[in-house]
């Protein structure tokens, strides 16, 4: 699709780090936080996997867990339930300048 002048004006309002969502199934555009795993502390127990209400956490091939960037809502339930405290919440970029968090 060719980008018109209006498209460019529209895009200039947004942070380029966040993609503009076209598939309305995913939560990429409105969440505030993302979980990050510390692999030194992680014991691969799978409690975070069980406690995720969206099914957004999956196990990688090396045994550690990771969040699906498409579907994670940043509710921080996994970090609250983690036994070893290896999950920390990382703030994502603000899309709008008037966004509070």
């Amino acid at each position: 699709m060719t980008k018109t002048k209006r498209h460019k004006e529209f895009e200039s309002h947004f942070n380029p780090a966040i993609p503009i969502v076209e598939v309305f199934n995913c939560n990429e555009d409105w969440r505030f936080e993302l979980p990050v795993w510390d692999t030194e502390k992680c014991i691969q127990c799978g409690v975070c996997y069980l406690s995720c209400p969206d099914g957004a956490i999956y196990q990688k091939e090396d045994g550690y867990y990771e969040a699906d960037l498409k579907y994670c809502k940043g509710c921080a339930l996994c970090s609250a339930q983690c036994w070893t405290g290896c999950i920390s919440m990382q703030e994502v970029f603000k899309r709008f300048p008037w966004q509070i968090r």
């Binding site: 199934n25 799978g46 069980l50 921080a76 339930l77 609250a80």
Partner: protein, 306 residues
């Protein structure tokens, strides 16, 4: 030995049947309960009671109620439930011949509010001729009515409601138990569960699928937007509801009551009420009334249990 229980989630299947998306809020207890149950109910046909009261999530073909999606879902009205479940049970043999997955039992997702509004409709749905599992998600809609009575009237307006009396609070807490329509009906397995005890919940779903006849599970689902607390505290609120005795976990199998989580050393109910912002206007004088009602409920349960 207790430390080995940390690794128990690894025994579950890694396949995801639950479809994630924008259907629920952050940290939704209902979605968490539906996802945990869907790990066990894999090839089971699901039905969602899609009436106006229960269809809170419903939009389009896939709802949060019809979580165990395997190509066999129905969305009838609550009035048609019994006939649809009978069809599922009868067609179990024929679907096996066609090479599809075998249907063990029909699973129905309901909302707790339905028992308050549609009292006349619900009892005929629980017929003895059918065999199904009824998962009832309870986010305490009847407590909101009690809280709304505490709010003062608008300026220069006469008070429409009155602050709730001790008897009304006790009645509201008794109401959150298993409804009378279920207790009087023909159920071979009745249980209460909470997603903050996932392995306990999974065992109950397994038992309910294995038993012959109807089964009913009442699931307490904490709601961060409705009860007003941070979404990361969903599981901790559920834990406190069980540990204070506010929502005791037990199961009734063929008339025999068994308590699955200990009820002897309970925490005060105040801890549970303090966590939620919806009880902000709740007066302190009424907290002992709630404690009394919870104690009565627990002693009654302990006397019934074997």
């Amino acid at each position: 030995m207790s430390q080995f229980s940390v690794y128990l989630p690894k025994l579950l299947t890694q396949d995801e049947v639950f479809i994630s998306g924008r259907r629920s809020c952050q940290g939704c207890g209902k979605a968490l309960a539906a996802r945990i149950a869907s790990k066990i109910i894999h090839g089971v046909a699901t039905v969602s009671g899609n009436s106006a009261a229960s269809g809170q999530f419903s939009a389009g073909a896939l709802t949060a109620h019809s979580y165990a999606y395997d190509g066999v879902t129905w969305e009838p009205l609550i009035e048609n439930l019994q006939s649809v479940i009978r069809q599922i049970n009868e067609s179990a043999g024929s679907t096996e011949q066609k090479g599809r997955q075998r249907i063990k039992k029909a699973v129905v997702g309901l909302d707790r509010r339905m028992f308050d509004t549609e009292e006349l409709v619900v009892p005929p749905a629980f017929g003895s001729s059918t065999a199904g599992l009824y998962l009832c998600f309870d986010n305490e809609p009847h407590i909101d009515k009690l809280i709304r009575m505490l709010n003062p009237p608008a300026f220069k307006h006469a008070a429409v409601s009155h602050p709730p009396s001790a008897a009304e609070i006790k009645a509201a807490i008794r109401r959150k138990n298993i409804p009378a329509a279920v207790a009087e009906g023909s159920f071979s397995f009745i249980a209460t569960a909470c997603p903050s005890y996932p392995l306990d919940f999974i065992e109950k779903v397994k038992k309910a699928l294995a038993c012959s006849g109807n089964a009913f599970i009442l699931v307490l689902t904490p709601c961060p937007t409705g009860w007003i607390f941070l979404p990361k505290l969903t599981i901790k609120v559920g834990l406190l509801a069980v540990r204070t005795g506010y929502f005791p976990l037990y199961e009734i199998e063929n008339g025999i009551v068994r308590i699955t989580q200990p009820l002897q050393n309970r925490k005060p109910v105040q801890d549970y009420l303090k966590m939620q912002k919806r009880f902000f206007t709740f007066p302190r004088e009424l907290i002992p009334v709630v404690q009394e009602a919870v104690n009565d409920q627990c002693t009654e349960l302990l006397s019934r249990a074997h």
